[in-house]
Symmetry: D2
Subunit: 349 residues, 4 copies
């Protein structure tokens, strides 16, 4: 590990992924937080907005000013809505500032797919520069990337659950069902009736059935792993809790196997993945076991009667599903230790 | 509707299903609560244990004494653990008192299946008397039944979701996946680390994967509907909330269809089912919309690309999944209006 | 009880107090729901907005049109914001339709106090017509009232806790501290960051310290009971739950007493109060014991060392604290049985 | 700061305070975790019991064996029930191992008071060795202490709220009311109906009114600060959340003052207290702002009409209220930097 300091800005620092970036980065030994931006709270101290940071991060929030910021920046983390993100990416790249974009704008390689799900892309010409930042899939070298598209929270949980099997083409792609459950912070800090406490508490529901925007991202991920574009079923659900995603994934094996053989395949595939932890047979992760951490825990059950596999993966949607993975990507981008600043253990309870 | 009064006892009145029976029955216009039993709280008033009932149900709890109780009883609701339940059923039937058993003891027709999942059956000779009490499946005439096996909570949500399609043999049975999510009251009031507030709150997990005891009951239900014993996949999950079950069911259609055609099939099948409510296309039930009610709400999505159906059903696990369905069964058993005492609307929020 | 039907309208039927009125009134044997209004959802069925009411209340929501509605109305329940409420009250009274106003507009008799806390009063001339509708305080005859001001949720819990002692002038008024805790539904259904699930869940806070608008209403209530205007301390807190208020009230006795004597005073004072339940010594109410009910449960502890009394009262903020009390007021206004339609027992759990 | 490593054991490592010690200590740069004990889980790895620690703390749990452990230990943290704790303290002190006891056994100096609230004290002769470990009160020099009594969670929140005023004798001691609210983890991990999810969720209650064991500890703390033993009123409440205590404290000022003057007094008193943060006028702490941190945040409101002060303090009951404060005490005991290993910022949300 070098002793260099990466000078960073968080653009959109007062949303949930922004705050979480600030929290993790302020304790990261090789990062210097240079700018925090917010349009709504510009002029206030970060710690006035979030008293939990009082005495820790008293930086004054500023409006976005790329020209000014670019002078002393190595990297900008973008936590702004899609489309606005693409425009901001362009501004930073033009100034030679690297970007990790937490929006959806550069996750899908194919501009037509993007436009079918999100509308017109402001800068399709930048798509080819973007690298999809899920290091465990070993799809690209992140070192020296200029623009990293940070994956969606659901795709992170779903793809990590199934990647070893997809990579080895052990499953029928048309059998893939992703039944995923998320805490409410996945919907962000913006106001919406669906995030009102009284509408969520003591309630459980599915939403976006058959039309959630993370569907093409999961399909694309599987295509990258297998060469084939599948047509998965993806059903997200809302859990009355703040953080966490649990994905329950169903897949039909192409030929009969044993738990032991499959576990070996997972272990080999994730041998160098510091943040993936595999559970022994009969043991499955719970979201609290990865809460406030960058780990993705995975367990699975093989029904030998019908060769159907049930895989369960758990992440913290704001960390491995967003800000933590973004920092992991930053570490790799700048040649730092991949785990640097990211080895916190979940508090129990 | 006749004006008769059914004289009932609740055996095991201080567990969650017992209390819920008492709450619903005290407001039922054709029921007289004659005895409430509890071994641990015998001698105390019911309202001392549950101050919410103060001035409403001040009955003194007594220990079980079948001989004494039988004299003035038409019906006993059993809310005691399996195996203990079968023994108690025998005692009441011998005294010509009808029984609705909320345990698992008489849900499975096949004694071998029962014993594989629950251990030795105390009274296998009574199995043939037992009628499985899920009225919407129209499997048996409940009127004049002596012994009704009240269904499990998960099987209620799962079977109602899929019954019309199973009945008409429209789906590949080997494709059936039941991804179900339940509130904590499903585990009852007994003490267990898994029900400790701090272990459940801000957590989501799967449990009993590949080995939950409701699996054979769902298999049996589908066999009754189709003539074929399937090998389903059933994955229960624990939601940090008190009440409610949401079942997300995946099934492969045998031949292509449309939403409209399938909705017609559901509507016809449930034409006389007062407690099943079907949602229009694109609309899916949430657990709060059936909380504290006896309704089962159902919505579905057809992915026409791969003829995969996603069905979502919601119930209150303690009402339609237990005590409410038991009262519905009682109404039918005694020739009362099926909906009598059961038409409460869920409080919002 | 007469067999008359009261024809009612709920103005603002899609907020939490509106929905709760609809739920309770549709099961009230002597009420006919004639109109439900909503500006935002006019034209939709009530059950489209709230699928829990599907098949139960399928009334179409209409915009407010007093002229048209007045023709077949006996009573309008107003669930609209203060100031807008006063204007609507005027319109209905002019058409000889009685009103129960759930806003704050007619709770304070003194227009100056109102204006200091809420701003200009649209119709101060109507203040003298308004009767404060907390029947247990026995301050006025509600029968034949034209306009009832339905009390605030906190004042209901706070005043019922202390009324017998205040009435008998047993306590030092300057010692009164009301430490109150409410579920989130008290803030209504409107969008606000403070009601966002992630901001409330796993959090507890005080709010509005020294400046909550229910303060003058509590002061006024005590003045009505004692003849003296006190200067109370009132601290509201937000509990991460949907429903319920618990008020912990501290008061210094003027002269030494015993638990037994004080209990006698409470019992006598509340002898005819069907919805107040007193707990025996050492027993205190919890909010779940009155949830979804119109009861107010009260327990107290006397510290004989320093003659300080700790009184705990619990209500459901949406029922006894709003819609239930409004129906109780309606019952009295129209000469019906006070408890009619309001004797539901809280579900446990 | 020296570079020494303190070799420690956690006795009772599988309760909530034990786990939290392990989590914080494993990341503490000057601590070596040498032994973790558990009677129920001896022989299992810590990470088998708590999969969140997988790959982080894989230490095998052992039964308590003081003779064996004492050889390589500097310090034992005791997380065992009172009375058992005192016996274990004796064993360690006899072996020259220092102890920080998280139980109540050495918190009260006066053996009679202890015995009135907790029963016979196993080792009253050790009471004079014990130092009460709340560093902010500046009552004792903790450096080189052999035995530190770690304060209770409620007394920590309550005393820190009021210490500056008590120290300067600005308040009427007989006016002190502590209305405190705690998350459920304060009751520990042991099974009890009162900690069952369904009994806590959507509920709020007071408990232990007039008889909670933290009362004498708060009284003693105030006596240490003022020289006078008060007779406070302390009312704990249970909040449906896992972590956090909010104390709302009411006190009558002896003479009139201003917010500014009082804030100055707090600021001066807590000048060197790294973990106490004072809020500006009109701003009050929420429990989430100190969750998972060792901070105690304090805000207050002065009602100048009646010279009554409302002080609000917030802590994480498992950190500043238990394990964090214990580590803070360890740091001081061994001459390390007071804040070492304890400067985590609360995650938002």
């Amino acid at each position: 590990m070098t002793s260099k300091q990466v000078s960073i800005a968080v653009i959109g620092a007062t949303g949930y992924t922004g705050v979480e970036l600030v929290r993790l980065l302020q304790e990261h030994p090789q990062v210097k937080i240079t700018h925090l931006t917010s349009e709504s709270f510009a002029g206030k101290k970060f710690s006035e907005c979030f008293p939990a940071f009082s005495g820790r991060v008293d930086t004054t929030l500023s409006p976005l000013d790329v020209d000014k910021m670019a002078k002393d920046l190595d990297l900008a983390f973008l936590c702004v809505p899609h489309q606005e993100a693409a425009k901001t990416v362009k501004l930073f790249l033009d100034k030679k500032v690297k970007v990790i974009d937490l929006s959806a704008d550069f996750r899908l390689n194919d501009v037509k797919t993007y436009e079918a799900w999100y509308g017109p892309h402001p800068h399709p010409e930048l798509l080819e520069k973007a690298i999809y930042g899920m290091p465990e899939l070993q799809l690209s070298n992140l070192k020296n990337a200029e623009l990293i598209a940070n994956p969606g929270c659901y795709p992170t949980a779903c793809l990590l659950a199934i990647a070893p099997l997809a990579h080895h083409k052990l499953i029928h792609l048309d059998s893939l069902i992703f039944d995923a459950k998320s805490g409410v912070s996945g919907a962000g800090r913006k106001l919406a009736l669906g995030s009102h406490f009284c509408e969520v508490n003591e309630n459980f529901k599915a939403y976006g059935i058959g039309k959630h925007r993370h569907t093409p991202e999961i399909n694309q991920g599987i295509k990258k792993l297998t060469g084939q574009l599948p047509s998965i079923t993806f059903t997200p659900h809302l859990v009355p809790m703040t953080r966490g995603i649990l994905a329950t994934v169903y897949a039909q094996l192409k030929s009969s196997s044993t738990h032991q053989d499959l576990l070996k395949i997972y272990q080999d595939y994730y041998q160098k993945a510091s943040f993936v932890r595999l559970r022994p047979e009969g043991n499955f992760p719970e979201t609290r076991e990865v809460r406030n951490s960058n780990f993705c825990d995975i367990g699975f059950h093989l029904d030998t009667q019908n060769q159907r596999l049930t895989v369960v993966s758990a992440i913290d949607n704001l960390i491995k599903g967003a800000s933590g993975q973004a920092i992991q990507n930053m570490n790799l981008m700048f040649g730092l230790e991949e785990t640097c600043g990211l080895l916190q253990t979940s508090p129990i309870p």
